[in-house]
């Protein structure tokens, strides 16, 4: 067991999969010589060469579209988008092509491709660099969407994504790269579509993922000091969505708060809350609360940005409201 950063975990997963399978290759802006915008592919260019670590022109639609093309031939491309905000330039390929080709053509071809994209706010990068639009992508059947909150999950999920025969959107959070965590030695595969209890508790079920796992953990500590024990369920995958641990936990606590970084409207919290109401209404003892970003494009100025993002104090407040 080694304690490594999220960046190292993601990097290790890519490295190991490229060593294991010559069909895996990386394409994206600044992934080669520069080593990636968040330095995830540092050293890859020298080791694997320019052919397998390909700097592309600035053209996101072509990056994703070309990954689709390459995947159709049986290669396993890992396309990197500098930020998930630029995925909107590639939306047609993600939504109309990647998510649908397998179904539309009755399973004649598979699309073993991964799109790595960096999401999230908190780095003062302004409204079109800082979004958390995860729910948008999770809306589409045919696409798998994962967003890990710990280094171990990042490593295991990315390896699973690369080996998957379906297109996977792998969302990394811009402020989690330095986060450290224990990662088991040796082969590590975390199955896509499995939620996980990250903290045991009896009073309230907190459902969250990605960066908000860290925020929720912090809130949980503060609450514990006051004698309130929350149970935290980390979704890890948004599609397919595994509700079992959420429902099991809720049946124990009878109260739930959902914490997401994106906007509340039509978001992850909306989905989880409705599923709880649909599948476990009789167990719910208090209205479910959602903690999310203020409904504005995320501003640049630090004060404004922090004001708009959800934080531990918001989580603490919401938990107390459902108790």
């Amino acid at each position: 067991m080694a304690k490594i950063t999220m960046r190292e975990a993601i990097s290790q997963a890519l490295w190991e999969e490229m060593e294991r399978d010559p069909k895996v290759f990386i394409l994206g802006e600044e992934v080669g010589l520069w080593g990636g915008t968040y330095a995830v592919t540092k050293g890859f260019f020298d080791h694997f060469g320019a052919e397998r670590v390909r700097d592309t022109p600035i053209a996101e639609a072509a990056i994703v579209g070309a990954a689709i093309g390459a995947a159709l031939t049986g290669l396993r491309p890992v396309a990197e988008l500098m930020t998930i905000n630029f995925a909107f330039s590639a939306m047609d390929h993600i939504v109309n092509e990647a998510a649908k080709l397998h179904y539309m053509f009755a399973g004649q071809m598979v699309l073993p491709m991964v799109i790595r994209a960096v999401g999230g706010g908190g780095r003062q990068l302004g409204a079109t660099h800082s979004q958390t639009p995860d729910a948008v992508f999770a809306h589409f059947p045919g696409l798998k969407v994962v967003a890990p909150g710990t280094p171990a999950d990042a490593k295991g999920l990315l390896k699973a994504a690369i080996r998957s025969n379906d297109p996977v959107l792998f969302i990394e959070h811009a402020t989690l790269y330095q986060t450290r965590g224990e990662v088991p030695d040796g082969e590590l595969i975390v199955p896509i579509g499995k939620s996980k209890i990250q903290r045991l508790g009896r009073d309230v079920t907190l459902v969250t993922y990605s960066k908000m796992l860290e925020v929720s953990m912090k809130a949980a500590e503060q609450l514990a000091a006051e004698g309130i024990e929350v149970e935290i369920v980390d979704l890890r995958s948004l599609r397919p969505l595994d509700m079992d641990p959420v429902l099991e936990s809720l049946k124990k606590t009878n109260r739930a708060v959902i914490v997401e970084e994106g906007w509340k409207s039509y978001g992850v919290g909306a989905e989880i809350a409705s599923r709880i109401y649909e599948e476990a209404f009789d167990f719910v003892d208090a209205p479910i609360k959602r903690v999310a970003q203020a409904e504005v494009p995320l501003p640049y100025n630090r004060t404004l940005e922090q004001m708009a993002l959800p934080n531990a104090a918001d989580v603490v407040k919401a938990v107390k409201e459902v108790l």
Binding site: E29, E30, L33, W34, G35, D55, P57, I58, A59, A61, A62, N85, F86, F88, S89, Q124, L125, G126, A127, T128, H129, A294, E295, V296, P297, P299, Y300, N301, R302, T303, L304, E305, Q306, M307, A308
Partner: protein, 327 residues
Amino acid sequence: MDPSPDQKLDMYRLMLLARRLDERAWVLHRQGKIAFHISGIGHEAAQVGAAFAIRRGSDWVTPYYRDLALMLALGMTPAEFLMGLMGKRDEPNSGGRQMPSHWSLRRANAVSHSAPVATQSVHAAGIGLAIKLRGDDKVVLTTIGEGSTSQGEWYEAVNWAAVHRLPVIFIVQNNQYAISVRAEKQMAVQSAADKACGLGLPGIMVDGTDVFAVHRAVKDAVDNARAGNGATVIETRMYRITPHSSDDDDRTYRSREEVEENKRRDPLLLARARLQEEGLLSESQYDEMDTQIKASIEEAVKQAEAAPYPAGEEALHPVYAEEVRHA
């Protein structure tokens, strides 16, 4: 028509102002007083040359993040720029909402700048279309980096402008790098101007370190556009003297020798030598100008530092038009 001696001096003064202000921004960043800076050092000639070729304040401009000198030429003040760097409440681009150097100065008809590159090109085509529909006697100047001309939107915008003969001037500031990626990894042609011929409009290459050459080329294109003869693509070639931004360390992908070599073609040196040759700017006049500019920047820094930050609640507005009283 060539610029008058006074205009030439004005052009040079703006270039020097942009340079000194840009250098000051790097210092503010090193001092930890600002979070981010993206520099236009090396781009001043192209931007000032282009600005002087349009009717500033009346013609439309959709700029990109390196356009500090262009924005100053359009009337943005140093204090306004500095407040933008600091995310102050009254900075005119965005009131602290957008990243620095993501310009929007309504009073100068400079609009539309998002972080995803090449969006401004398409907006310029739309403005060009509107100018035609409204029957205005105006043109649009839009700028972009060479790397970003790889984006589909750029081709789409240029194609539109060509098909509809729109009054748009597409300036490509080819500084030979897109972050770490060299221009030859973005395009197989020698110049972004070469892309124009495939789309059916003129493509011009001009030395982007020569402010007067750029001015002449853009002026011709503007005259053409205003006369109803449609759009032009102009590539201005220069070198990005600084790292991509304050977040970049360019030592990982280019040698110091290469950078030093290219500094010899610094547009400010070239313009100053020209003015000196023409007897417009003596050594002592230059010193005086520089001293004055530096003093005015220090004054602007004080002003910007004293300006208030937005209050937290201001983050919540104005998402919709109804939240603001519009003219």
